[in-house]
C-alpha cells in the first residue's frame, strides 16, 4: 500500500476494512472500488466533497444499503449486512445527521429505545418496563461519558441541540461493540456545543470504541481525528495521519486541486 503517510499496519490492528466496494444507482456510480480502514481504538475522519461517496459508504456499513460488490471485514471476519439490525448486532452503531431521537420521550427512554429493559419475572414476561433500572443505567452511561442531561424526566425535545447530540452519541456508544459512525455530528451546533461533542468523541475512543467521523469541518477533524481518509469520486484517494499533515494538504486531496503524491494504488495522480 503506497500512500503519503505509509505506516506499517498489521491486519490485526484493523477492526473494519473495506476493499474494492462498488455501488451504482442506475447509471450513477457512487462508489467505484472504494477502500476504507478503521483501526482499533482510533478516531478516523472520513472526508470528501459532496458526491464523493461518503454517505453511500456509511449506509453500506450501517446495513441500510447493500454493496454491488466488494469485501467488508469486521474484526477479521468477512461480513455482509442485510439490514441495519444486522449491522448493529455485529457491533456497528450509527448516529445520523438528523438527530434520530424520539423528541417526546425522556433521555433514558431514548437510550434504551428498541432495547427496553423489562422487569424480572412474570411482569417482565408480559412486557412491563423496568424504568428504574433503565434510568439508573442511563445515568451511569451519561456520567461515564460526561454527558449532561439537564432534567432526566424532561422530553429530549426540550433540551438544547448540544445535549441532544450528546444523548444521541452516548446512546450509540453504549451499544457499539466495535465501531461508531458519526455523520456530521457538529453540523447544527454552536462553538461550545461543538467543543463538547468533540471531547465526547475522544472519550468514546478512550473507552476502546473506534469512531468514524464523517465531517466537512476541517478544524473539527484536525482537532480530534487520529487519521483522515479522503474519498473522491467514489474512491479513496488519500490516507493521512493527522499530526503529519497540514489542513491545506487535506483540502487539496478533497478538492483534487493538487495531487497528494500518490493515490491508493500508488499511481501518480
Amino acid at each position: 500500500m503506497g500512500n503519503t503517510n505509509a505506516i506499517s499496519v498489521t491486519e490485526s490492528d484493523l477492526i473494519l476494512t473495506v476493499r474494492d466496494v462498488r455501488k451504482s444507482f442506475g447509471r450513477v456510480e457512487a462508489l467505484r472500488g472504494a477502500d476504507f480502514d478503521v483501526r482499533r481504538g482510533e478516531v478516523v475522519a472520513l472526508m470528501g466533497d459532496n458526491g464523493a461517496g461518503k454517505s453511500t459508504l456509511v449506509k453500506i456499513l450501517a446495513g441500510v444499503q447493500a454493496a454491488d460488490s466488494g469485501v467488508v471485514t469486521l474484526d477479521g471476519n468477512e461480513v455482509v449486512f442485510a439490514s441495519p439490525d444486522e449491522a448493529r448486532a455485529a457491533g456497528i452503531e450509527t448516529v445520523y445527521q438528523d438527530l434520530a431521537l424520539a423528541d417526546t420521550l425522556d433521555s433514558a427512554a431514548n437510550l434504551f429505545l428498541g432495547r427496553e429493559l423489562r422487569r424480572q419475572g412474570f411482569l417482565g414476561h408480559i412486557g412491563f418496563l423496568d424504568n428504574r433500572r433503565m434510568r439508573r443505567e442511563a445515568r451511569e452511561a451519561f456520567a461515564s461519558l460526561q454527558v449532561t442531561v439537564r432534567s432526566e424526566h424532561d422530553a429530549v425535545g426540550n433540551l438544547s441541540g448540544g445535549q441532544r447530540q450528546g444523548i444521541a452519541v452516548c446512546r450509540a456508544a453504549t451499544w457499539a461493540q466495535h465501531v461508531l459512525f458519526l455523520d456530521e455530528p457538529t453540523a447544527a451546533l454552536g462553538l461550545r456545543q461543538t467543543r463538547n461533542v468533540l471531547d465526547l468523541i475522544c472519550r468514546v475512543r478512550d473507552q476502546g470504541i473506534s469512531v468514524v467521523l464523517i465531517s466537512h469541518s476541517l478544524p473539527d477533524v484536525m482537532q480530534v481525528a487520529d487519521r483522515i481518509e479522503v474519498l473522491r469520486l467514489g474512491r479513496r484517494i488519500a490516507q493521512f495521519t493527522t499530526v503529519d499533515v497540514s489542513a491545506d494538504d487535506v483540502v487539496a486531496a478533497i478538492t483534487g486541486a493538487r495531487g497528494s503524491g500518490q493515490d491508493d494504488e500508488g499511481q501518480d495522480l
Binding site: 441495519p84 448493529r88 424520539a102 412491563f128 418496563l129 424526566h153 426540550n158
Partner: protein, 322 residues
C-alpha cells in the same frame, strides 16, 4: 420529584380535570335534585361506556401520529354481524351471546388489520385509509342488514347490558376495566413505549430496531377490535343495532382524546386524559338537557372546550421552549 409534580399540575389534562370538576359543580349547584343524583350519575356512566372503549383504541392510534376515522362504521358493521350471528345461532343461549361477542371483536379487529396494513405497509396516510374504510364498513353494514336495524338481540344480553353491579352500570365497569388495563399497557409496557416512540419519530424508531410496520398494524387492530367490542356493548345496551346512530362517533372520539391532552402530532398522550375527555362532552350534554337548554348548545360548548384545550397545550409548550 417536585419537578414531576409541577409538570403534572401544568399538564393540559390537569386543566381539563378541573374543567370537568367545575362543570359538575356548576350543574350540581344549579340542579341539586335532578343532576346530582345517583340515577343521573348512573345515566352518565352508561352514556360514557361505549365512547370510552372506542376512545381507548383511538388514543393508541393518535399517539402513533395516526388517525382512525372508521371506528363508528366499524362499530356498526361489527354489531350488525354480531346480531346476525346471535340470531342465526338462535335463542337466548350463552353460546349465542359468546359467539356474538367473538364475532364483533373479530370483525372489528379485521377492519383494524386492514387499516393497519394499508397505513403501515402500503404507506397510505391514515386519514385517507380510514376515510375509505369508514365508507366501506358502513356500506357493507347496510348491505348485510338491508338498511334495517337488527333487533333480535338475546334478552339476557340486554338485561346484562342494562344491569348494575354495586350500583354501577355493568357496561361502564367493563369499559373502566378496559381503560385501566390499556392505560397501564400504554404507560408501563414495551408495547406502550414503542407506540410513543413511533409517534414521536418514526424513522428513529425504525433505526432503533423497532418493527414499526408490525407495531402499527397491532395498534390499528387494537383500535378496530375495541370498536368491535363497542358494537357488542351497544347491542347489550340498546337491544338493537344502531345503524344510523354512529355517524359522528369518530369525531366524538377524536374530540375526547384531544381534549384529554393527546397530541394529534403523535408521541404524547395518556389514558387518564382520554377518560376525562370522554366525560366532559357527556356531562355537558346531560346537564344541558336537565337545565332545559336547547340540547344543540352542547356541540357549541364541546367545540369551545376542544379548541381551548389545544390552545392551552400549545401555549404551555411555547413557554417551555422559550
Amino acid at each position: 420529584m417536585n419537578a414531576k409534580l409541577a409538570s403534572w399540575l401544568t399538564r393540559p389534562t390537569t386543566t381539563m380535570l378541573l374543567v370537568l370538576v367545575g362543570i359538575i359543580a356548576i350543574f350540581a349547584a344549579l340542579s341539586p335534585t335532578t343532576f346530582f343524583t345517583l340515577a343521573n350519575g348512573q345515566g352518565i356512566l352508561s352514556n360514557v361506556a361505549i365512547l370510552l372503549v372506542v376512545a381507548v383504541g383511538a388514543t393508541f392510534v393518535i399517539i402513533t401520529a395516526g388517525i382512525d376515522l372508521s371506528v363508528g362504521s366499524v362499530l356498526v358493521f361489527s354489531s350488525v354481524l354480531g346480531a346476525k350471528a346471535m340470531t342465526a345461532i338462535g335463542g337466548d343461549s350463552l353460546p349465542a351471546i359468546l359467539s356474538g361477542l367473538l364475532v364483533t371483536i373479530v370483525a372489528g379487529g379485521a377492519w383494524g388489520v386492514l387499516n393497519g396494513v394499508l397505513v403501515a405497509k402500503a404507506k397510505v396516510p391514515s386519514f385517507v385509509v380510514t376515510l375509505g374504510t369508514l365508507g366501506a364498513a358502513y356500506g357493507l353494514a347496510l348491505v348485510i342488514s338491508g338498511g334495517v336495524d337488527v333487533r333480535s338481540v338475546p334478552t339476557p344480553l340486554v338485561e346484562f347490558g342494562n344491569g348494575r353491579w354495586l350500583g354501577i352500570p355493568v357496561i361502564f365497569s367493563i369499559a373502566a376495566l378496559i381503560t385501566v388495563i390499556a392505560g397501564i399497557a400504554l404507560a408501563l409496557t414495551v408495547f406502550g413505549r414503542r407506540t410513543y416512540a413511533i409517534g414521536s419519530n418514526e424513522e428513529s424508531a425504525r433505526r432503533s430496531g423497532i418493527r414499526v410496520e408490525r407495531h402499527l398494524i397491532k395498534v390499528y387492530a387494537l383500535a378496530g377490535a375495541l370498536a368491535g367490542f363497542g358494537g357488542f356493548l351497544s347491542l347489550a345496551r340498546f337491544g338493537t343495532t344502531t345503524i344510523a346512530g354512529n355517524n359522528t362517533l369518530n369525531l366524538q372520539v377524536i374530540t375526547a382524546v384531544v381534549i384529554g391532552g393527546t397530541s394529534l402530532f403523535g408521541g404524547i398522550g395518556w389514558m387518564f386524559g382520554t377518560t376525562i375527555g370522554v366525560f366532559i362532552p357527556v356531562v355537558l350534554a346531560n346537564g344541558f338537557i336537565i337545565r332545559g337548554v336547547v340540547p344543540y348548545w352542547q356541540y357549541v360548548a364541546v367545540g369551545t372546550v376542544l379548541i381551548t384545550a389545544v390552545l392551552l397545550d400549545q401555549r404551555r409548550r411555547l413557554r417551555q421552549l422559550s
